[in-house]
């Protein structure tokens, strides 16, 4: 992923305090970001993707099968590592089977919503004028309207059966999820549109489509990636919420529906933590992996956001004695072998 950032620009003759002649900053634009956040995020996400793919296959039991007639969930044991539900189904098996639909729906929703936001955001930003006014208005309306009540009224009228279909659910989620990306992309496009290199392309006679395709969109890649991750994150949360509310077919295992069933018998007030904690943590960690990746991209776009402790390798010497504090440049006497 070779991406350059529009904001990354040397200041020319004006030398601001603390800004180096931009060489270092500029070459950064071409390196694969390797911040710990991105690595941790990628590893976590990879684990979830693997679970989504092979989870149902490696599940020790059929998640629908009841093992006993008791209505009291069993805590974790050798036979059921994560215990059982009130119907005596194996929690681990449900957990392993539930990742696929969550990830799939979120992914589809992310793709559709991102496509929508790129088309609408870039068009609005590049065209400007009335098209921009109308499209921005539309995006802002979708942003302001609270998504969950809208989804609930939609599913209320659609009836629960329609929520069985992953594609329909993904579609409905993407309708409520595109606006944020469109707004961000519009703003970025607007600033790119007035970049000198876009004017330069226009000056040599490039067509509008070529300019959008080769000058603008490639420079939006980090923003699009971040918007995509954000939408997938939103999709995970929303799908889980819908399933939690019981609008997804009960045969269709997902982490949200596990939480739905545990809530049905008040697992949280009965102390059956092994039932709701695993799916909840799975959703939270899946979300965390996406959020970390997003954070990494943000830091990549704007290196100033980096936490000093997590990136680069600050000298151990300084950490003990003189911590850098704002408005008081550190003095670290070091023999650097003067020429």
């Amino acid at each position: 992923m070779a991406v350059g950032i529009g904001t990354d620009r040397a200041t020319g003759a004006a030398s601001a305090p603390g800004s180096l002649p931009a060489a270092g900053g500029r070459s950064r634009a071409w390196r694969l970001p390797r911040s710990p956040k991105i690595i941790v995020g990628l590893v976590m996400l990879a684990v979830f993707v693997i679970i989504a793919i092979i989870g149902p296959l490696i599940a020790p039991y059929n998640p629908n099968v009841s093992f006993a007639n008791s209505s009291v969930p069993l805590p974790p044991s050798g036979a059921h590592w994560l215990g059982t539900t009130a119907l005596q189904q194996d929690v681990l098996s449900q957990l392993l089977s539930g990742g696929r639909s969550t990830l799939l729906v979120a992914l589809i929703a992310g793709v559709i919503a991102t496509a929508l936001s790129v088309i609408i955001g870039v068009t609005a930003g590049y065209l400007g004028g009335l098209a921009d006014d109308v499209l921005s208005m539309l995006a802002n309306i979708f942003l302001v309207m609270p998504a969950l009540p809208l989804l609930m009224i939609l599913f209320g009228f659609l009836g629960h059966s329609s929520a069985d279909n992953d594609l329909v659910v993904a579609l409905v989620i993407s309708i409520t999820g595109w606006a944020w990306g469109a707004r961000v992309l519009r703003a970025q496009t607007l600033s790119l549109r007035n970049r000198d290199y876009v004017d330069s392309a226009r000056l040599i006679g490039e067509s509008n489509w070529r300019i959008i395709g080769t000058e603008i969109v490639p420079n939006l890649v980090p923003v699009i990636a971040s918007s995509f991750l954000f939408t997938v994150l939103y999709g995970v949360g929303t799908y889980t919420a819908i399933a939690f509310l019981g609008y997804v077919n009960p045969d269709h295992w997902s982490w949200g529906s596990m939480l739905f069933y545990s809530q049905e018998v008040n697992a949280e007030t009965s102390g059956y933590w092994w039932w709701f904690v695993p799916p909840g943590l799975a959703v939270a960690f899946l979300g965390t992996s996406l959020a970390l990746l997003n954070f990494g991209i943000d830091e990549f776009v704007n290196p100033r956001l980096r936490a000093a402790g997590l990136s680069g390798h600050p000298s151990r010497r300084t950490r003990g004695r003189t911590r850098q504090s704002f408005g008081q440049t550190a003095v670290i006497r070091a023999d650097r072998g003067r020429p």
Binding site: A2, V3, G4, I5, G6, D8, R9, A10, T11, G12, A13, A22, A23, R26, S27, A29, W30, G128, L130, D132, D133, S136, M137, N140, R183, R186, A187, L190, S191, R195, D196, Y197, D199, S200, A201, R202, L203, I204, G205, E206, S207, T214, E215, P218, N219
Partner: protein
């Protein structure tokens, strides 16, 4: 003077005032928004093998003028003539125009896309205009291009990305890209102001060479009157969207006709100066949303007369090929104080001037 390649006749540009667009907040559609009178009735000729410098402060409209001439924006009124004909419109014609008129922008750190290498930047004009087939022919032409801007060996530069080049090198690449189509006119919008002091002259000299070797008509936009004097054959001075003086470079700097030009010269840094310069016309340019009537400089002008508020001064001759838009130069009306083509040198005007004006006022 030979026939101009590019000519502006009465170019005027009014911009709608922006209201928070780009903040991401919704805005109401345009309903009678106020306008900025950015460029007002400017006429200009660019002859071949000739550098015309446009000098002015920020907000004087000089960059807008360059963009109008490059047809990046279209004028509110007025005409752009290419080789004596009205400049063509439409997509095909736009390409035709781009083959004749090219532009170099101010900031070499922004005018090259950080994602594309030099090869991409230089090959595009050839491809867009169908001037070279990909392969050996294209490579040869690009090498030739780099040589024309003194970036050798070409191979070493073609593979580089903008961030691997210094400011001066970037600006040379930008110039090379503009030269690919073998244009007749090169518009250069502050091409050196973002560069380090020590390498500015190199780029200016390159522009001078292009004028001499390739007979290019060059428009050099700058706020630095000393560099205009160094490079240009003719200097045009703009103030608040209007053209206030034009003439041969040395005539304008050595015998300025307009009070604003004199002010500009007296304010410019000059190590040779022995005493503090005397600034005549302190203050700031007027609002261009509601520009003053008549001469836009009158509020600051030490010689302002009643007529300055009533009528926009036309261009009066002030020497060979030298003219100024100032009622002081109106010899027929007997208003003109400084007789002859050589008004006072900048900064120290004869006291007689003032008393003369007083009589007319």
């Amino acid at each position: 003077m030979t026939t101009p390649v590019l000519e502006a006749r009465g170019l005027t540009k009014h911009f709608a005032v922006h209201d928070g667009g780009g903040t991401g907040r919704p805005r109401l559609p345009a309903v009678s928004r106020p306008v900025v009178h950015a460029v007002e009735d400017v006429s200009l000729k660019l002859p071949p093998a000739h550098v015309t410098a446009v000098v002015g402060e920020s907000g004087s409209g000089k960059s807008t003028l360059a963009r109008l001439l490059a047809r990046l924006i279209s004028p509110t009124s007025g005409q752009v003539l290419l080789n004596g004909h009205a400049a063509p419109r439409g997509r095909r014609r736009r390409l035709e125009y781009a083959r004749t008129v090219q532009m170099v922008l101010q900031d070499p750190f922004a005018s090259l896309n950080p994602l594309h290498d030099v090869r991409y930047h230089l090959s595009r004009p050839f491809r867009v205009h169908g001037l070279a087939r990909p392969g050996a022919e294209l490579d040869e032409k690009m090498a030739d291009l780099l040589e024309r801007v003194a970036l050798t060996p070409a191979d070493a530069y073609l593979r580089k990305y903008p961030h691997e080049l210094s400011g001066g090198q970037r600006q040379r690449v930008a110039i090379a890209r503009a030269l690919a189509v073998r244009p007749q006119v090169l518009l250069a919008d502050e091409p050196v102001s973002m560069l380090d002091v020590s390498i500015r002259l190199g780029v200016l000299n390159l522009l001078g060479d292009l004028r001499d070797r390739e007979k290019l008509a060059i428009l050099y936009i700058t706020h630095d009157i000393a560099s205009a004097r160094y490079l240009a054959d003719e200097i045009v001075v703009m103030y608040a969207g209007q053209l206030v003086e034009s003439g041969p470079a040395e005539a304008v700097t050595d015998q300025p006709a307009h009070p604003y030009t004199r002010l500009l010269l007296s304010a410019a840094p000059d190590p040779e100066r022995s005493t503090q310069p005397q600034l005549r016309g302190r203050g700031a340019p007027p609002s261009l949303v509601r520009p003053p009537s008549g001469c836009r400089f009158r509020a600051r002008c030490p010689h302002a007369m009643p007529i300055c508020a009533e009528q926009v001064p036309p261009q009066f001759p002030a020497g060979t090929g030298h003219s100024g838009a100032c009622w002081l130069l109106d010899t027929e009306a007997g208003r003109a104080a400084p007789a002859g083509p050589a008004p006072a040198p900048p900064g120290d005007e004869p006291a007689g001037d003032l008393s003369d004006h007083g009589k007319h006022a």
